[in-house]
């Protein structure tokens, strides 16, 4: 008997089920098809303006820095200003995300933009989130041909651009968006929910930022995005 059958048989015997129990199968099928929503905290259930404000506030609470810009075209300048303010070299790593590509990076002559997956020497990565979650100040990113996951983890500084209109009240709305993009039950290779910069409390329970992932997380919220 394979491990698979052995385990499933033991499980069925313990539950008192038979493999051809159609009533149980129906229950499971139904739940997978139409997941009940559960308890959604009131915290994030706000009108758009307050929701965006809550997102910024929650993100700041987990030590992300947050700035708001008026339109996508303002992002490259904001990135350049961030690099200057942190004394970072004028070089960023990013994927070929079409929303980022549409921005006028070339107008900033001194800024080097490297495309493709990150390597160990990159100091700054720039990503575009597909959603934000106001309840917790979380940004949602996913992998794809234009969105390397390494950009989210290898650089010391991670700059994430999120459109204000994509900021949801809760995680469930963000998941629903991914379902809509990829189809029910289908997922990209990686979905990252990122809430603040990397941290560790493993030495004497003292909370320190910048463990293995980015030491700093900078969020740029695009109001007219």
């Amino acid at each position: 008997m394979s491990g698979r059958e052995a385990i499933l048989n033991k499980v069925r015997a313990a539950i008192g089920a038979s493999p051809d129990d159609t009533a149980r199968a129906r229950i499971v099928k139904k739940r997978l098809a139409k997941p009940p929503l559960g308890v959604i905290p009131a915290r994030g259930q706000l009108p758009e303006k307050d929701r965006i404000a809550l997102f910024c506030q929650m993100a700041a609470k987990v030590s992300a820095s947050v700035e708001r810009v008026k339109k996508p075209g303002d992002v490259p300048k904001a990135v350049a200003a961030y690099l200057r303010s942190r004394n970072l070299p004028a070089s960023v790593r990013m994927g070929v995300d079409e929303r980022l590509e549409a921005m006028s990076w070339k107008s900033l002559k001194s800024l080097e933009v490297k495309h493709g997956p990150a390597d160990a020497d990159d100091e700054v990565g720039v990503s575009h989130a597909v959603a934000g979650v106001a309840e917790t100040g979380t940004v949602v990113l996913h992998s794809g041909a234009a969105n390397p996951t390494t950009v989210n983890f290898l650089p010391e500084h991670h700059i994430v651009v999120v459109d204000a209109k994509d900021i949801a009240g809760d995680l469930e709305t963000a998941f629903a968006g991914i379902r809509q993009t990829f189809g029910k039950g289908m997922m990209p290779r990686t979905v990252n929910l990122v809430t603040g910069p990397s941290r560790s409390g493993d030495i004497q329970q003292k909370l320190l930022l910048g463990a293995h992932g980015p030491r700093a997380l900078h969020l740029i919220v695009v109001d007219g995005g």
């Binding site: 739940r31 997941p35 308890v39 992998s143 990252n192 004497q204 910048g210 293995h212 992932g213």
Partner: protein, 478 residues
């Protein structure tokens, strides 16, 4: 790993006299409790979410076979492989086989209690594959040849000075004069040292906080980012997860995430919640080319349908041990195996046998704090009592305890005998103490008087005095 749970008493005596450990354990008391409380106070729906989380797990366990099948189908559809391991040995062999076919010499590891449970590191090393722990706490204890003393804070038993000494010993290629006096500098050094290990590794092994039947995804919840680097940089990603980690849908994940981080570290949400599904897709610029899931039973199915089934709701947040007075006193290693604290006191006997782990469910004051903070509302004291019942019915507890208890119960079941015995014994005891209020030593009460005075009976029993009062009352009426 070697099980030292039978020596729990000896282990705990050592722990109590270890000054470094006692100093470090102070951080548990101060580190976790207030943070958890603050985050919960800020979420009015917390208790409703606990109920929701419990209902989700109960539903899932009642349909576990079907959700596992549906999960497997989805993983395969996404291009991943699912392996089923009945035992720890099966799991180890499956993982070794994956490493061998990947030609792996080094594997990086994200923090995972299940790989501790199956003793993966020792096994891989013996077979010539080098496992490198990348979570800071796990990395530190791997340097020391130790095992985690806490399920979410593996190095919580260590002080900063001990970590510094270990880094100086092991990182001997770095300048001796470097400053490591602050936790920040220790963290920075670990980050630098581990960075190139990720690129060196051929296989990355992580655990999973959840598996999702709807999508075939595995989810890890972390703060450092090491788990993510572990699973995106090497060519092969192996997920090791026990079968009860499964949840029906992403909505269910959302419910449990809201209670997990709050209960564990007092965060609303951990920094990185990563949902992984299959290997990299055509056109993806990074990510693993192979994705394997090893589903481990190793005793879980034997808990299903028993009085210990509720334990399978556990999401490994650590809140029970963070609030446990016994854990605070002796730390995690005293428990003698992988899982310490109240959850370990229930789980360890299930997984290694109550013959070996019998002390664990007994070493509890039943103060109930673990149950009161458990996000999944697991009745931990009740299940520890169930273990005590099994031990008692199998005659596993010490004979002196059993005979003492039987003798006491014999009297307690017979009210007249009880009245008679206490009305002689108590005044006698009271006579012996004279005008003193307590005993400094009393035969047969050494367990008590070793550390404290034993307050003496006031005089005659309440019942004796009450009967006299009734008699006096009746005389007055007559």
């Amino acid at each position: 790993m070697q099980i030292t749970s039978p020596a729990f008493k000896e282990n705990s005596r050592q722990a109590l006299s270890d000054a470094q450990l006692q100093k470090a354990l102070g951080n548990v008391r101060s580190g976790f409790i207030d943070k958890r409380q603050n985050s919960i106070d800020a979420l009015p729906e917390f208790d409703a979410l606990r109920d929701s989380a419990r209902a989700i797990k109960d539903h899932t366990l009642a349909h576990l076979d079907l959700y596992l099948e549906s999960y497997e189908e989805k993983v395969k559809k996404a291009g991943g492989y699912v392996h089923w391991a009945e035992t720890a040995a099966d799991a180890r062999n499956i993982i070794l086989e994956i490493c061998r076919s990947a030609g792996a010499r080094t594997v990086t590891k994200g923090k995972s209690m299940i790989t501790e449970e199956i003793g993966l590191n020792e096994f891989l090393e013996k077979e010539g594959v080098r496992p490198v722990e990348t979570d800071l706490g796990e990395y530190i204890i791997q340097l020391r040849g130790e095992h985690p003393s806490h399920i979410i804070a593996p190095a919580v038993h260590l002080t900063q000075e001990q970590v510094e000494a270990d880094f100086r010993r092991v990182h001997d290629h770095l300048p001796v004069a470097r400053d490591l006096s602050e936790p920040e500098s220790l963290l920075a050094e670990a980050r630098r040292v581990l960075r190139y290990r990720y690129f060196q590794a051929d296989v990355g092994i992580t655990g999973a906080n959840f598996l999702v039947a709807e999508t075939g995804s595995s989810i890890i919840v972390t703060n450092e980012g090491n788990g993510d680097l572990t699973q995106i940089l090497p060519r092969v990603h192996v997920v090791v997860a026990s079968i009860e980690k499964i949840l029906p849908t992403l909505e269910d994940v959302g419910q449990i995430l809201r209670v997990l981080a709050r209960s564990a570290t007092g965060q609303d949400m951990s920094v990185y919640t990563t949902v992984s599904t299959g290997p990299r897709r055509p056109g993806d610029p990074d990510g693993p080319e192979e994705y394997h899931v090893v589903l481990v039973d190793n005793g879980r199915s034997s808990m299903l349908g028993t009085e210990f089934q509720d334990m399978l709701r556990c999401i490994r947040c650590g809140a029970c041990m963070n609030h446990c007075p016994v854990y605070h006193a002796v730390g995690g290693h005293a428990y003698g195996w992988v899982y310490p604290g109240p959850m370990g006191a229930v789980l360890t006997p299930s997984l290694v046998g109550v013959e070996k782990a019998g002390h664990l469910p007994n070493a509890s004051t039943f103060c109930g704090r673990c149950e009161s903070v458990c996000p999944m509302r697991i009745p931990l004291p009740k299940m520890m009592r169930h273990w005590r019942e099994r031990e008692f019915s199998r005659g596993l507890n010490p004979a002196t305890q059993r005979y003492g208890l039987r003798a006491w119960a014999m009297v307690a079941k017979r009210p007249k005998l009880y009245r008679f015995a206490t009305s002689i014994g108590i005044p006698l005891l009271s006579f012996f103490k004279g005008r003193k209020g307590s005993f400094h030593y009393l035969p047969l009460a050494g367990g008590w008087t070793r550390h404290r005075e034993l307050p003496a009976p006031e005089g005659r029993t309440f019942m004796q005095q009450w009967r006299d009062r009734d008699v006096r009352k009746q005389e007055a009426v007559a």
